[in-house]
């Protein structure tokens, strides 16, 4: 009885102390995350809001916007307005550019995955002391500017470039193979720029894998191909998803690479949007196109994440 009587005030004090700790902890949490939140608000959310607002305004004559509500930007994305009678006709021009960009980005992602997976697997299966060196080698391209690297690719593949000069010198060809300003050049540039973004997350997930599971697979009569399909790939899935996102999203919005290596002949989304803010002086249209791209990518992502993780979550839940 005496013990119980004494326990009550003690408990109360403990509870008070705990509440104080919790308040301090909350304050500390907000205090610590404030700089990051501020940056995201200021440089992420705010510009996005400006874009949303701009996309619903009228284009100014010399760039900029007129502060009048208008859905013209979205309408003109799909339709062309006749200059004389104002009637709308369906025009797939922008859609085609979007589609082309999606194809480029998808192809880049798939080829990066096909090239990156064996590379990452190779890296992850080296002795631990050598792995750091391989990761280091993969990150070397990041040391120089993307523009510089793209121009280096241009110099390498142009008609008087290294490759053509070498093949001519060997006598294998008698006139240069045209590579620059083709779809091939754009693909090459995109692959070169984004391959490390595929390799690194893949490497991270394969390196974490328990290789006894591979042995267990072999032990249970699985051939090499089946071990790859049934064990290694499912276990590397987080890396595959991360790598694909890290390649696809920047690839679909790529601007510098297609511009320089494609020579502006094959417009893709990045160029198109840049054009609206530049020579076309149609900021609302540019904003609308950027938002349509973003929403499209978001929807695709949500769908992708749903279909790939839904099964696992259902089992865990």
């Amino acid at each position: 009885m005496a013990a119980a009587a004494e326990a009550t005030p003690t408990n109360q004090r403990v509870a008070e102390a705990q509440a104080l700790m919790r308040r301090r902890w909350l304050r500390a949490r907000w205090g610590l995350s404030a700089p990051a939140v501020l940056i995201i608000l200021l440089f992420g959310i705010l510009p996005l809001m400006i874009m949303v607002v701009y996309s619903f305004l009228e284009a100014g004559e010399y760039g900029g916007v007129n502060w009048k509500l208008s859905t013209d930007a979205y309408v003109s994305f799909l339709f062309q307005r006749d200059i004389f009678d104002g009637t709308l006709t369906f025009s797939p021009d922008y859609l085609i550019i979007f589609l082309r960009s999606i194809i480029f980005a998808l192809a880049t992602t798939v080829i990066c995955l096909l090239l990156g997976f064996p590379t990452a697997y190779f890296m992850a299966t080296r002795p631990p002391s050598q792995r750091t060196l391989w990761v280091f080698l993969i990150t070397i391209p990041f040391w120089s500017n993307l523009l510089v690297r793209t121009i280096a690719v241009m110099i390498t593949i142009r008609d008087e470039g290294l490759i053509n000069d070498f093949l001519l010198w060997l006598g294998l060809i008698d006139k240069p193979i045209v590579m620059l300003y083709t779809n091939f050049a754009i693909m090459l540039g995109l692959l070169y720029s984004f391959l490390p973004f595929m390799v690194l997350p893949l490497y991270a997930s394969i390196e974490k894998m328990d290789f006894r599971l591979v042995e267990a697979g072999f032990d249970l009569y699985a051939t090499r191909g089946r071990v790859l399909r049934r064990i290694i790939i499912p276990l590397a899935k987080p890396g595959i998803i991360a790598g694909c996102l890290l390649v696809f999203i920047p690839a679909i919005g790529a601007y510098v690479t297609p511009l320089i290596l494609g020579g502006g002949k094959h417009l893709i989304i990045g160029d198109l949007i840049a054009l609206q803010f530049g020579s076309s002086r149609n900021w609302p249209l540019g904003s609308a196109q950027a938002l349509i791209l973003m929403v499209g990518v978001l929807i695709a992502l949500l769908f992708y994440v749903r279909t790939t993780t839904g099964k696992a979550q259902a089992l865990h839940g």
Binding site: E215, F218, D219, L220, Y221, A222, R226, I231, P234, H316
Partner: protein, 359 residues
């Protein structure tokens, strides 16, 4: 004609690395495992036991020598073409599959029909007492349950030989003792040849039909548990299995099947000869602490230390300055030991309790 061995290693050598850093994990090991046998490879870490197991499974290739399964050489066969399955030390269950999918994996890879597979999976789950756990993920199971799934996954393929790589080492003591009995039972019921790797002598002694004691890439002794424990052939085996007193003795002469040995002028007894020993020869004897008897009122030794270990008391008996003997005496009903530090005791070594070692 002799029965065909389930597994046979013939002069198997395995060298890891090359040049100055080369490690000889196995040194011309030859051993034959009989069919339906519970065979244990016992030794300290680094003795080559796991390497031998991995060679049998096909994860490594021998540097020299041959591995035969049912009399057929298998060096050229990858693991997935050998009728051998492994229970891995850390179980290596596929984390992205359910328990049932794990167990079905081997059958599926060999193209067994769906109906037959699900039948075998149910049978295996009940064999390892996990009926109803088929839909769980390995991460949702306890260590002991994961261990059973690993067993079921290997046994589902009804292999000729089941290889077990220290499968009990990750379990706690109570569970480990329980699983010992279950493993032995399972082996008897299924009739599958088990090759079991462990560094735990108690595990080896309690479960095995035969034990190969390994050290430094060689098999030191091969025999039934009783043989290994009672008649160790060399110092390593005597030391590794159980506790042993090593005594340097001189031979007085032969007496029937025994030799008469003398230790430090104060002890003399009959030891089992492991080889012919001439009078006057210096030999090394091994005596188990529990085989030595102490008598009150003697003068041969003085109790220097007593350690209570539950069932028994361990006494350290000082005989001469440089000679101490460990003696293990079962405790009386009240649990108290018979002797105290400083007591004078007589020492009796029954004929044959001491064994002369070969090296």
């Amino acid at each position: 004609m002799a029965e065909i061995a389930a597994v046979e290693a013939v002069g198997v050598t395995k060298v890891f690395g090359a040049g100055a850093e080369a490690v000889r994990a196995l040194d011309e090991v030859s051993v034959a495992v009989r069919q339906n046998e519970f065979f244990t490879l016992l030794g300290p870490s680094g003795c080559g036991k796991t390497t031998l197991l991995r060679l049998i499974a096909g994860f490594e290739q021998p540097t020299a020598g041959e591995i035969l399964l049912k009399g057929k050489p298998v060096e050229h066969l990858p693991p997935y073409q050998r009728a051998v399955n492994t229970v891995f030390q850390s179980y290596a269950l596929f984390p992205h599959m359910t328990v049932a999918e794990n167990i079905a994996f081997g059958l599926e890879m060999r193209g067994t029909s769906k109906e037959k597979t699900s039948g075998v999976v149910e049978e295996m789950l009940s064999l390892v007492k996990l009926t109803g756990f088929g839909g769980r993920r390995p991460a949702q199971l306890s260590g002991g349950q994961q261990q059973r799934v690993a067993l079921a996954r290997a046994l589902a393929n009804s292999p000729d030989v089941l290889l077990l790589d220290e499968p009990l080492s990750a379990l706690d003591l109570k569970l480990r003792q329980e699983m010992r009995g279950e493993l032995k039972n399972l082996q008897r019921r299924t009739g599958i040849t088990f090759v079991f790797v462990t560094h735990d002598q108690e595990e080896a002694l309690t479960m095995s039909d035969r034990i190969a004691v390994m050290s430094r890439g060689r098999i030191q002794q091969l025999g039934a548990p009783l043989e290994i424990y009672e008649r160790p052939v060399n110092r390593f085996v005597a030391d590794f299995i159980g506790d042993t007193n090593f005594l340097e003795a001189s031979v007085d002469g032969r007496k029937g099947e025994y030799i008469h040995c003398r230790v430090a002028d104060s002890l003399d007894f009959l030891a089992s000869p492991a080889a012919n020993a001439a009078a006057g020869a210096k030999v090394t004897l091994a005596i188990r602490p529990e085989k030595i008897q102490l008598r009150p009122g003697g003068t041969a030794g003085t109790i220097a230390q007593t350690v209570y270990v539950g069932t028994d008391t361990n006494y350290e008996v000082r005989i001469a300055d440089s000679l101490r003997l460990n003696v293990r005496v079962q405790n009386a009903v009240d649990g108290r030991g018979q002797y105290a530090v400083g007591d004078k005791v007589g020492i009796e070594v029954p004929a044959g309790a001491a064994r002369m070692l070969q090296d």
